[in-house]
Protein backbone atom coordinates (compact mmCIF):
# COMPACT_ATOMS: atom_id res chain seq x y z
CA UNK A 1 0.00 0.00 0.00
CA UNK A 2 2.87 2.36 0.78
CA UNK A 3 4.11 1.88 -2.77
CA UNK A 4 0.84 2.55 -4.57
CA UNK A 5 -1.10 4.50 -1.95
CA UNK A 6 0.08 7.91 -3.04
CA UNK A 7 -0.52 7.26 -6.75
CA UNK A 8 -4.00 5.89 -6.11
CA UNK A 9 -4.89 8.72 -3.76
CA UNK A 10 -3.79 11.35 -6.28
CA UNK A 11 -5.66 9.57 -9.04
CA UNK A 12 -8.77 9.51 -6.87
CA UNK A 13 -8.27 13.18 -6.05
CA UNK A 14 -8.08 14.10 -9.74
CA UNK A 15 -11.27 12.19 -10.44
CA UNK A 16 -13.26 13.57 -7.54
CA UNK A 17 -11.51 16.98 -7.28
CA UNK A 18 -11.88 17.04 -3.52
CA UNK A 19 -9.98 15.54 -0.64
CA UNK A 20 -12.78 13.97 1.37
CA UNK A 21 -14.13 11.97 -1.53
CA UNK A 22 -10.60 11.07 -2.61
CA UNK A 23 -9.94 9.65 0.86
CA UNK A 24 -13.14 7.60 0.81
CA UNK A 25 -12.47 6.41 -2.71
CA UNK A 26 -8.88 5.40 -1.89
CA UNK A 27 -9.98 3.57 1.22
CA UNK A 28 -12.75 1.70 -0.60
CA UNK A 29 -10.39 0.85 -3.45
CA UNK A 30 -7.75 -0.70 -1.19
CA UNK A 31 -10.33 -2.66 0.75
CA UNK A 32 -11.63 -3.94 -2.60
CA UNK A 33 -8.06 -4.78 -3.65
CA UNK A 34 -7.64 -6.81 -0.47
CA UNK A 35 -10.88 -8.69 -1.04
CA UNK A 36 -10.40 -9.29 -4.76
CA UNK A 37 -6.68 -10.06 -4.55
CA UNK A 38 -7.10 -13.45 -6.22
CA UNK A 39 -8.68 -11.95 -9.33
CA UNK A 40 -5.51 -10.00 -10.15
CA UNK A 41 -3.69 -11.53 -13.12
CA UNK A 42 0.04 -11.85 -12.43
CA UNK A 43 2.20 -10.28 -15.11
CA UNK A 44 -0.22 -7.41 -15.73
CA UNK A 45 0.10 -3.90 -14.34
CA UNK A 46 -0.97 -3.80 -10.72
CA UNK A 47 -1.47 -0.02 -10.80
CA UNK A 48 -3.75 -0.27 -13.84
CA UNK A 49 -5.74 -2.92 -12.03
CA UNK A 50 -6.13 -0.66 -9.00
CA UNK A 51 -7.03 2.30 -11.25
CA UNK A 52 -9.73 0.16 -12.82
CA UNK A 53 -11.11 -0.55 -9.37
CA UNK A 54 -10.99 3.18 -8.53
CA UNK A 55 -12.80 4.17 -11.73
CA UNK A 56 -15.45 1.52 -11.20
CA UNK A 57 -16.01 2.60 -7.61
CA UNK A 58 -16.12 6.23 -8.68
CA UNK A 59 -18.70 5.45 -11.34
CA UNK A 60 -20.79 3.42 -8.88
CA UNK A 61 -20.64 6.21 -6.35
CA UNK A 62 -21.71 8.79 -8.92
CA UNK A 63 -24.66 6.61 -9.91
CA UNK A 64 -25.57 6.15 -6.27
CA UNK A 65 -25.44 9.87 -5.59
CA UNK A 66 -27.02 10.64 -8.97
CA UNK A 67 -24.83 13.62 -9.42
CA UNK A 68 -21.50 15.05 -8.65
CA UNK A 69 -19.24 14.51 -5.72
CA UNK A 70 -19.49 17.09 -2.99
CA UNK A 71 -17.83 20.42 -3.58
CA UNK A 72 -14.60 21.00 -1.73
CA UNK A 73 -14.85 23.38 1.19
CA UNK A 74 -12.52 26.31 0.45
CA UNK A 75 -9.41 26.33 2.57
CA UNK A 76 -8.69 29.44 4.60
CA UNK A 77 -5.01 28.85 4.29
CA UNK A 78 -3.85 28.68 0.70
CA UNK A 79 -0.67 26.81 1.64
CA UNK A 80 -2.67 23.80 2.82
CA UNK A 81 -3.97 23.43 -0.70
CA UNK A 82 -0.65 21.85 -1.62
CA UNK A 83 -0.29 19.73 1.46
CA UNK A 84 1.70 22.44 3.22
CA UNK A 85 4.40 22.34 0.55
CA UNK A 86 4.64 25.19 -1.88
CA UNK A 87 6.05 24.31 -5.28
CA UNK A 88 9.54 25.67 -5.74
CA UNK A 89 9.81 28.70 -8.00
CA UNK A 90 12.72 31.01 -8.60
CA UNK A 91 10.89 33.84 -10.28
CA UNK A 92 8.01 35.25 -8.17
CA UNK A 93 6.29 36.64 -11.28
CA UNK A 94 6.53 33.28 -13.00
CA UNK A 95 5.27 31.65 -9.86
CA UNK A 96 2.32 34.04 -9.76
CA UNK A 97 1.50 33.41 -13.41
CA UNK A 98 1.92 29.62 -13.10
CA UNK A 99 -0.17 29.55 -9.96
CA UNK A 100 -2.99 31.44 -11.62
CA UNK A 101 -2.76 29.36 -14.77
CA UNK A 102 -2.86 26.23 -12.63
CA UNK A 103 -5.74 27.61 -10.65
CA UNK A 104 -7.67 28.46 -13.79
CA UNK A 105 -7.00 25.01 -15.18
CA UNK A 106 -8.01 23.31 -11.96
CA UNK A 107 -11.30 25.17 -12.02
CA UNK A 108 -11.79 24.31 -15.68
CA UNK A 109 -11.04 20.65 -15.00
CA UNK A 110 -13.49 20.62 -12.12
CA UNK A 111 -16.20 21.89 -14.44
CA UNK A 112 -15.84 18.94 -16.78
CA UNK A 113 -18.11 15.95 -16.40
CA UNK A 114 -16.72 13.03 -14.44
CA UNK A 115 -16.26 10.90 -17.58
CA UNK A 116 -14.46 13.69 -19.41
CA UNK A 117 -12.17 14.42 -16.47
CA UNK A 118 -11.44 10.74 -16.09
CA UNK A 119 -10.30 10.34 -19.68
CA UNK A 120 -8.15 13.49 -19.52
CA UNK A 121 -6.47 12.34 -16.32
CA UNK A 122 -5.77 8.90 -17.78
CA UNK A 123 -4.54 10.17 -21.16
CA UNK A 124 -2.67 13.33 -20.19
CA UNK A 125 -1.58 12.85 -16.58
CA UNK A 126 -1.14 9.09 -16.34
CA UNK A 127 -0.18 8.89 -20.04
CA UNK A 128 -2.08 5.73 -20.85
CA UNK A 129 -2.75 4.81 -24.47
CA UNK A 130 -6.28 4.91 -25.83
CA UNK A 131 -6.37 1.12 -25.80
CA UNK A 132 -5.27 0.97 -22.17
CA UNK A 133 -7.88 3.54 -21.21
CA UNK A 134 -10.54 1.58 -23.07
CA UNK A 135 -9.56 -1.57 -21.15
CA UNK A 136 -9.42 0.31 -17.90
CA UNK A 137 -12.80 2.02 -18.06
CA UNK A 138 -14.51 -0.75 -20.01
CA UNK A 139 -15.50 0.91 -23.27
CA UNK A 140 -14.41 0.92 -26.92
CA UNK A 141 -11.34 2.72 -28.17
CA UNK A 142 -13.61 4.87 -30.37
CA UNK A 143 -15.50 6.03 -27.30
CA UNK A 144 -12.23 6.95 -25.59
CA UNK A 145 -11.09 8.86 -28.65
CA UNK A 146 -14.29 10.86 -29.07
CA UNK A 147 -14.63 11.47 -25.34
CA UNK A 148 -11.08 12.79 -25.13
CA UNK A 149 -11.57 15.06 -28.15
CA UNK A 150 -14.74 16.55 -26.71
CA UNK A 151 -13.20 16.85 -23.25
CA UNK A 152 -10.13 18.67 -24.51
CA UNK A 153 -12.10 21.07 -26.67
CA UNK A 154 -14.38 21.85 -23.75
CA UNK A 155 -11.44 22.17 -21.36
CA UNK A 156 -9.77 24.59 -23.69
CA UNK A 157 -12.91 26.72 -23.81
CA UNK A 158 -13.46 26.55 -20.04
CA UNK A 159 -9.84 27.38 -19.39
CA UNK A 160 -10.07 30.49 -21.54
CA UNK A 161 -13.27 31.46 -19.73
CA UNK A 162 -11.53 31.06 -16.39
CA UNK A 163 -8.64 33.21 -17.51
CA UNK A 164 -10.85 36.04 -18.82
CA UNK A 165 -11.21 37.92 -15.48
CA UNK A 166 -7.46 37.92 -14.95
CA UNK A 167 -6.79 39.56 -18.32
Amino acid sequence: MSQYGKAVYNFAYRLTTNENDARDLTQDAFVRVFRAWRSFTPGTSFLSWVYRIVTNLHRDELRRRKGRFQEEIPEDNAFQEYGGQRPLAIDPIEEFVEHHLGEALSKALARLSSDQRQVIVLADVEEYSYQEIADLIGCSIGTVRSRLHRARLLLRKLYLDERQPTK
Binding site: G5, R23, V31, S129, R152
Partner: protein
Amino acid sequence: MSDHLTAAERIDYLHRELDETTDARVQLHLTDCEFCRTEAEYEARLTDLIRACAAQEERELPSEVKAGIWQIIHSQRRPSFISLPGFLRPAISLPLATAAALALWFLLPFSHLAPATVKIDARYFLRAHASDVARGSFSERLVPVNFESVSQAEHRLIRTALLQAVVTDPFDTER
Protein backbone atom coordinates in the same frame (compact mmCIF):
# COMPACT_ATOMS: atom_id res chain seq x y z
CA MET B 1 -2.94 25.79 -47.30
CA SER B 2 -6.74 25.52 -47.09
CA ASP B 3 -7.08 21.97 -45.74
CA HIS B 4 -6.19 22.29 -42.09
CA LEU B 5 -5.88 19.44 -39.65
CA THR B 6 -8.90 18.65 -37.56
CA ALA B 7 -8.75 19.06 -33.79
CA ALA B 8 -9.11 15.29 -33.48
CA GLU B 9 -6.07 14.74 -35.71
CA ARG B 10 -4.01 17.20 -33.68
CA ILE B 11 -5.02 15.61 -30.39
CA ASP B 12 -4.36 12.09 -31.66
CA TYR B 13 -1.02 13.22 -33.07
CA LEU B 14 0.02 14.63 -29.69
CA HIS B 15 -0.99 11.41 -27.98
CA ARG B 16 0.85 9.31 -30.61
CA GLU B 17 -2.33 7.50 -31.50
CA LEU B 18 -2.19 7.84 -35.28
CA ASP B 19 -1.10 5.09 -37.61
CA GLU B 20 2.32 5.55 -39.23
CA THR B 21 1.05 6.92 -42.53
CA THR B 22 -1.30 9.46 -40.98
CA ASP B 23 1.29 10.41 -38.39
CA ALA B 24 3.82 11.17 -41.14
CA ARG B 25 1.23 13.16 -43.11
CA VAL B 26 0.30 15.23 -40.04
CA GLN B 27 3.93 15.87 -39.21
CA LEU B 28 4.61 17.03 -42.74
CA HIS B 29 1.55 19.26 -42.65
CA LEU B 30 2.63 20.85 -39.38
CA THR B 31 5.96 21.89 -40.88
CA ASP B 32 4.18 23.67 -43.71
CA CYS B 33 1.04 25.08 -42.06
CA GLU B 34 1.59 27.80 -39.49
CA PHE B 35 -2.05 27.85 -38.37
CA CYS B 36 -2.09 24.12 -37.58
CA ARG B 37 1.35 24.35 -35.95
CA THR B 38 0.12 27.13 -33.65
CA GLU B 39 -2.96 25.10 -32.79
CA ALA B 40 -0.90 21.98 -32.14
CA GLU B 41 1.50 23.97 -29.95
CA TYR B 42 -1.46 25.27 -27.99
CA GLU B 43 -2.72 21.71 -27.47
CA ALA B 44 0.75 20.65 -26.37
CA ARG B 45 0.93 23.59 -23.98
CA LEU B 46 -2.46 22.61 -22.56
CA THR B 47 -1.19 19.07 -21.96
CA ASP B 48 1.93 20.43 -20.24
CA LEU B 49 -0.25 22.64 -18.08
CA ILE B 50 -2.51 19.72 -17.12
CA ARG B 51 0.57 17.73 -16.08
CA ALA B 52 2.09 20.66 -14.21
CA CYS B 53 -1.19 21.26 -12.46
CA ALA B 54 -1.41 17.59 -11.48
CA ALA B 55 2.18 17.62 -10.23
CA GLN B 56 1.52 20.79 -8.25
CA GLU B 57 -1.47 19.19 -6.58
CA GLU B 58 0.40 15.97 -5.85
CA ARG B 59 -0.18 14.99 -2.25
CA GLU B 60 0.77 12.24 0.15
CA LEU B 61 -1.73 9.62 1.22
CA PRO B 62 -3.00 10.83 4.61
CA SER B 63 -1.96 8.57 7.47
CA GLU B 64 -5.55 8.34 8.72
CA VAL B 65 -6.59 6.87 5.37
CA LYS B 66 -3.87 4.22 5.71
CA ALA B 67 -4.97 3.50 9.26
CA GLY B 68 -8.60 3.33 8.17
CA ILE B 69 -7.78 0.83 5.43
CA TRP B 70 -5.85 -1.44 7.81
CA GLN B 71 -8.59 -1.19 10.39
CA ILE B 72 -11.25 -2.29 7.90
CA ILE B 73 -9.07 -5.09 6.55
CA HIS B 74 -8.27 -6.43 10.03
CA SER B 75 -11.88 -6.25 11.14
CA GLN B 76 -12.94 -8.24 8.08
CA ARG B 77 -10.17 -10.79 8.34
CA ARG B 78 -11.54 -13.82 10.16
CA PRO B 79 -10.04 -17.26 10.54
CA SER B 80 -11.14 -19.38 7.62
CA PHE B 81 -12.73 -22.04 9.83
CA ILE B 82 -15.26 -19.57 11.20
CA SER B 83 -17.21 -19.87 7.99
CA LEU B 84 -17.29 -23.69 8.24
CA PRO B 85 -20.44 -25.51 9.34
CA GLY B 86 -20.73 -25.94 13.11
CA PHE B 87 -19.72 -29.60 13.24
CA LEU B 88 -16.52 -28.89 11.25
CA ARG B 89 -15.16 -26.23 13.61
CA PRO B 90 -12.06 -27.36 15.52
CA ALA B 91 -13.68 -26.91 18.95
CA ILE B 92 -16.27 -29.52 18.04
CA SER B 93 -14.63 -31.62 15.37
CA LEU B 94 -11.44 -32.46 17.32
CA PRO B 95 -13.17 -34.13 20.34
CA LEU B 96 -15.55 -35.88 17.93
CA ALA B 97 -12.66 -37.25 15.89
CA THR B 98 -10.86 -38.44 19.05
CA ALA B 99 -13.97 -40.22 20.35
CA ALA B 100 -14.52 -41.89 16.99
CA ALA B 101 -10.92 -43.10 16.86
CA LEU B 102 -11.13 -44.56 20.38
CA ALA B 103 -14.44 -46.29 19.59
CA LEU B 104 -12.95 -47.88 16.50
CA TRP B 105 -9.91 -49.04 18.46
CA PHE B 106 -11.90 -50.79 21.17
CA LEU B 107 -14.87 -52.06 19.19
CA LEU B 108 -13.26 -53.53 16.11
CA PRO B 109 -11.93 -57.17 16.34
CA PHE B 110 -8.18 -57.46 16.75
CA SER B 111 -7.75 -59.41 13.58
CA HIS B 112 -5.17 -56.91 12.42
CA LEU B 113 -3.03 -57.76 15.49
CA ALA B 114 -3.03 -61.57 14.93
CA PRO B 115 0.04 -62.98 13.17
CA ALA B 116 -0.48 -63.76 9.57
CA THR B 117 -0.57 -67.44 8.57
CA VAL B 118 2.70 -68.48 7.02
CA LYS B 119 2.27 -70.32 3.77
CA ILE B 120 5.26 -72.20 2.52
CA ASP B 121 5.60 -73.15 -1.07
CA ALA B 122 6.05 -76.91 -1.73
CA ARG B 123 9.11 -76.04 -3.77
CA TYR B 124 10.80 -75.06 -0.51
CA PHE B 125 10.71 -78.73 0.65
CA LEU B 126 11.84 -79.99 -2.71
CA ARG B 127 14.83 -77.66 -2.60
CA ALA B 128 15.55 -78.68 1.02
CA HIS B 129 15.32 -82.31 0.09
CA ALA B 130 17.62 -81.81 -2.85
CA SER B 131 20.22 -80.10 -0.67
CA ASP B 132 20.00 -82.90 1.94
CA VAL B 133 20.55 -85.50 -0.71
CA ALA B 134 23.46 -83.53 -2.11
CA ARG B 135 25.08 -83.26 1.34
CA GLY B 136 24.55 -86.95 2.15
CA SER B 137 27.27 -89.60 1.54
CA PHE B 138 27.48 -91.44 -1.72
CA SER B 139 26.61 -94.81 -0.11
CA GLU B 140 23.42 -93.43 1.43
CA ARG B 141 22.34 -92.25 -1.95
CA LEU B 142 22.70 -95.78 -3.24
CA VAL B 143 20.34 -97.26 -0.64
CA PRO B 144 17.27 -98.15 -2.65
CA VAL B 145 13.90 -97.19 -1.32
CA ASN B 146 11.60 -100.13 -1.30
CA PHE B 147 8.27 -98.56 -2.11
CA GLU B 148 6.62 -101.92 -2.35
CA SER B 149 7.16 -102.49 1.34
CA VAL B 150 4.99 -99.42 2.24
CA SER B 151 1.40 -100.38 2.77
CA GLN B 152 -1.53 -98.43 1.43
CA ALA B 153 -2.42 -97.10 4.91
CA GLU B 154 1.16 -95.96 5.52
CA HIS B 155 1.22 -94.39 2.12
CA ARG B 156 -1.86 -92.30 2.96
CA LEU B 157 -0.36 -91.25 6.31
CA ILE B 158 2.86 -90.11 4.66
CA ARG B 159 0.94 -88.25 2.00
CA THR B 160 -1.23 -86.48 4.61
CA ALA B 161 1.82 -85.55 6.66
CA LEU B 162 3.54 -84.18 3.60
CA LEU B 163 0.49 -82.12 2.67
CA GLN B 164 0.26 -80.73 6.21
CA ALA B 165 3.89 -79.82 6.07
CA VAL B 166 3.29 -77.88 2.89
CA VAL B 167 0.41 -75.78 4.24
CA THR B 168 1.68 -75.13 7.79
CA ASP B 169 4.51 -73.23 9.30
CA PRO B 170 7.69 -75.27 8.94
CA PHE B 171 8.93 -73.89 12.25
CA ASP B 172 5.96 -75.44 14.01
CA THR B 173 6.66 -78.80 12.45
CA GLU B 174 10.21 -78.71 13.67
CA ARG B 175 9.08 -78.45 17.25
